[in-house]
């Protein structure tokens, strides 16, 4: 989906052992597969983001499987404990196989 644009917000730096909140948002229509085209009567095929993964320095630290009934433009926020500096990589996997990614840095003092 051409419009899928991920956004991520987290603190630039954190103290060791601090709990940080990570907020993510992606623009996506999350077509449920339940709707029909009002003109042709054809079913509109499902197209949702079915998996969200957050990896830190290459290791998966958080993931979620998404199913039907997740809203359009899904927002996800979660908390992680900061232990070392590194790079977060966020990936969203679409039903059509597309993968949207975003990275963010966290410096731990």
């Amino acid at each position: 989906m051409a419009n899928a644009k991920p956004r991520v917000k987290l603190p630039k730096s954190a103290a060791k052992g601090e709990i940080v909140q990570i907020k993510t948002l992606i623009s996506h229509k999350m077509e449920s597969g339940q709707r029909v085209d009002s003109k042709t009567g054809e079913k509109i095929p499902r197209q949702i983001i079915n998996k969200f993964v957050c990896a830190f320095n290459g290791k998966e630290v958080f993931s979620a499987d998404w199913h039907g009934a997740v809203s359009a433009n899904p927002y996800m926020s979660f908390y992680l404990k900061a232990t070392e500096s590194g790079t977060f990589e966020f990936t969203w996997t679409d039903d059509d196989g597309s993968v949207y990614t975003k990275t963010a840095e966290l410096a731990v003092q």
Partner: protein, 267 residues
């Protein structure tokens, strides 16, 4: 993860249930209330307000960001972008959002923000006008109006705008549709009361284009008008119709002093 839960009141039948239980809370709404005029924000649930309060969490900013991108994109035969003439939107558009619709000499009638954007596209950029409710027009309108965010709504209703204001006012109090209801029957007589599962607001326009959870996206004020008209089983007017632009002016003046909240979040 956010879900929109739609409560369906079974057996409500053909009548619209209007339970006139006005909210009696005396909460201080700060900038969201000016005298008796209350923004839709004050009628929204705490969860909905929380989404609006955080620009990151507010999904409407996906549209605003897109509008910003378009602002700098050259299009049309003239090879110009919005920025070619208007420069930094934060400066040039700082007042626009709070003062539209305005009377336009060339048109001889009112023009709203969407129409101004399209007029500029056609006449100055020589580009195709955007269709209503496209991501482009909503994005640009939201982006432009967002520049006035926090500024009090203040429109001109005197001079040549006066007859159009009167028409808008008349339209507001005109009963219509099979349910024979005027805008005022819900938004003045029963603001704060319940319409099925929803709390009726005063129907202020200061947050449009707005992200509606029900729509799962951003929509224009005219889309909202059309929804309201259909709900009282009246034939809606067209997007950008004179009727709606006149009504838009009346509403803006009715909510004078409320801050522009674009892009707001409502249920």
């Amino acid at each position: 993860m956010r879900r929109t839960i739609t409560a369906v009141v079974l057996g409500a039948g053909l009548t619209v249930a209007l339970a006139g239980t006005a909210l009696t809370d005396e909460k201080d709404w700060g900038k969201y209330q000016v005298g008796d005029v209350r923004s839709g924000y004050t009628y929204a649930k705490a969860e909905t307000r929380a989404i609006q309060d955080d620009d990151f969490e507010n999904p409407a900013f996906l549209w605003v960001d897109y509008g910003e991108e378009l602002w700098g994109t050259a299009e049309g035969e003239a090879g110009k972008s919005c920025a070619s003439c208007h420069g930094d939107a934060a400066e040039s558009m700082a007042e626009a959002g709070a003062s539209y619709p305005v009377y336009d000499e060339a048109w001889g009638k009112l023009m709203n923000l969407e129409q101004r954007i399209n007029q500029c596209r056609e006449e100055n950029m020589r580009a195709e006008p955007w269709k209503w409710e496209t991501r482009e027009l909503l994005g640009m309108t939201a982006y432009v109006r967002h520049q006035s965010s926090g500024k009090p709504v203040s429109v001109k209703i005197d001079g040549k705008a006066a007859p159009f204001y009167e028409k808008g006012k008349e339209s507001y109090y005109q009963r219509r549709g099979q349910l024979d209801m005027a805008c005022s029957n819900c938004h003045e007589d029963n603001a704060g009361g319940q319409l099925r599962a929803n709390i009726l607001s005063q129907g202020q326009s200061n947050g449009f284009p707005t992200y509606r959870l029900k729509w799962q996206g951003v929509g224009s004020l005219h889309r909202r008008f059309r929804g309201c008209n259909s709900q009282v089983r009246a034939e809606p007017f067209g997007y950008g119709s004179d009727e709606y632009v006149n009504l838009e002016l009346f509403l803006a003046n009715r909510g004078s002093g409320l801050p522009v909240e674009t892009p707001a979040v409502r249920n």
